[in-house]
């Protein structure tokens, strides 16, 4: 996109950041052209942003199903290969099934939730990214793409609303 510029506006607090985002909307910058970067999680409704999409729950559920199947295989499937008759117990008992399947299901659920967080966020990633150190000091950054030629107007508008700085976003090594 050669006819647009990526800018990064830095705000001290939530209130001016929310106002800045509202102003960007008014100036024709769509939600999918911006991203908010912050040192603490901020509810999307507070900033007037649409809810971010996450696939972590679905990936975790897939893990839970796989874990269930693995557990079922271990407790009910393996006795076909290695029948162990102990204490007059049946080879395919229900109580033990519940225990093993529970542990494996939970391991699958949480293991995949963990992996899902990585996959959905694109972690690990060590390539240069638009970021400034002040974000982890509590500042809120709004990263957005604006049409070329309108930078001046947008920068002025955001500074009027309390933006500490609005600069071209540079991808740098984290």
């Amino acid at each position: 996109m050669s006819d647009s510029t990526m800018l990064l506006a830095l705000f001290e607090d939530i209130e001016p950041a929310a106002n800045g985002i509202e102003r960007l909307h008014e100036m024709g910058i769509a939600d999918d052209q911006m991203n908010v970067i912050s040192g603490v999680p901020i509810k999307d409704t507070i900033l007037g942003r649409p809810s971010a999409l996450s696939h972590v729950s679905r990936i975790a559920l897939t893990g839970a199903i796989l874990g269930f199947l693995l557990g079922a295989f271990l407790i009910w499937g393996t006795p076909y290969l290695f029948p162990l008759h102990v204490g007059g117990q049946p080879l395919y008992p229900v109580p033990q099934f519940l225990i093993i399947v529970f542990e494996m299901t939970m391991l699958g659920l949480m293991g995949f939730a963990f992996l899902g967080m990585f996959v959905d966020s694109g972690f690990p990633s060590y390539t240069p990214k638009e970021y400034v150190r002040e974000i982890s000091d509590g500042k809120i950054a709004v990263l957005f793409r604006c049409p070329s030629g309108e930078e001046r107007k947008i920068v002025d508008a955001l500074k009027k609303l309390g933006a500490e700085s609005v600069n071209p976003a540079e991808a740098r090594q984290l």
């Binding site: 912050s38 509810k43 996450s54 972590v56 542990e103 659920l109 949480m110 939730a113 963990f114 982890s136």
Partner: protein, 477 residues
Amino acid sequence: MSALTKPLFAGSKAEEQEDPKEHLMHDRMPRGEMNSMMLDSMHSTTWKYWTVTGVLAAIVATCLFYAWYYLIMNGLGVAGVNRPVYWGIFLVEVVFWIGISHAGTFISAILRVLKVEGRRPFTRAAELMTTFGLVQAGISVFLHMGRVWLSYWLIPIPNERGLWPDFHSPLMWDFMAINTYLLCSTMYLFLPLIPDLAMARDRATGWRKTLYKILAIGFRGTEGEWKNLKTAMNIFAFAIIPVMFSVHTIVSWDFAMATRPGWSSTVFGPYFVIGALHSGMAAVAIVLFLIRSTMKNMKYFLRPEHFELLGMLMLLVSMAWAYFYFNDYLVPWYGGDKWEKILTNFIQTGPEWYLWYLMLFCNVVVPWAILWNRKWRRIPWLLAIVGFLINVGMWLERFIIIPETLTINRMPFTWRLYVPAIEIALTIGNFAFFFLLYMLASRLIPLIPVWEVQEGQESHVLRKIGKARISAVSEID
């Protein structure tokens, strides 16, 4: 006639009004300053720190690793375990450390789910205990195994020997449950750590920069990253609670599934879980006191209010433990079974009678006598002493349940008092290793989840209602 029949209060108004700044959530500080304080505490290492670390490392090298080597080279004969007590202090340690590990999940997951705000600064300290506690439990299992190099036989791999782990056995459930818990609690430790590692990455230089850059996995704090992180943390917070309950319940089944006096009890599952929480919470009090008094800037993050919350939980858990213990004691006593009677008499009047009384003193009398008082609960060193005594009591409880109970069986000609040998050195090594890991971690990872503290401070406000200013919380995430 006067409207009042008696004076309503005896104190002065000044005493009644608490300074809001006493609460961490209302004593706001710029995030940058909090970050600097945290990193400063991680980077400052005095000669005292290195001396303690060196001593701990020496103890670990001799009492744990050399003693273990000696055990391997000479066999389990150098340990005190023998007929009829085959499960000695090694198993006491396993149960004890798994119990300690429950604190992290309880504080981090249950209090997170219940939105207890006071948890914020000390969740990570507790989560670390979970991981390091499980490491000690795992080591104790390997010590108990003797021929540790054959431990892979526990893994279900088809093999020529025709050996196959029996999934119908409580020991196998234990293996599955402890591994699930270890893996999940380690992942759960790492998730909320990512933003703090990113913060450390932004400020570090040299080898620390490289380390944090790798560990922070490229986290910036975009909306999508936070959303994914919070979703994963929520899944973990809810899912790890039943896993935590299952782990110690299954540990209790290692005993309760055997039809022997003292063990065959239907109440063992919840009794073990509450015992685990009892020792775990108490251990958190000790660790928080040590962090607060030895690390720089920690007095800002860890305040009397946090010890008070912990003290209340400890008192509550102590009462619950007493309730379950009485249940477990009364029913066999009332039943009048010959072997149960002999066992009870042995524990209470036998050669080691004092252990039983000391256990009750530490687990019930001490917490009940001290923790009812709000002022006393807010004294960190006092809470640490109570925590230490509770852990002595809980260790003794496990000692009574395992070697003492095994001494008495239905074959009196085998009765023999258990006298630990190399286990004593290994136990000292275990404890030293736990503290050594903690000492090293305290200089490598932020022990306070700074972003969670800031999140809490952002969401707390003081509302004026009538003449008073009341703390109110709103959800911003």
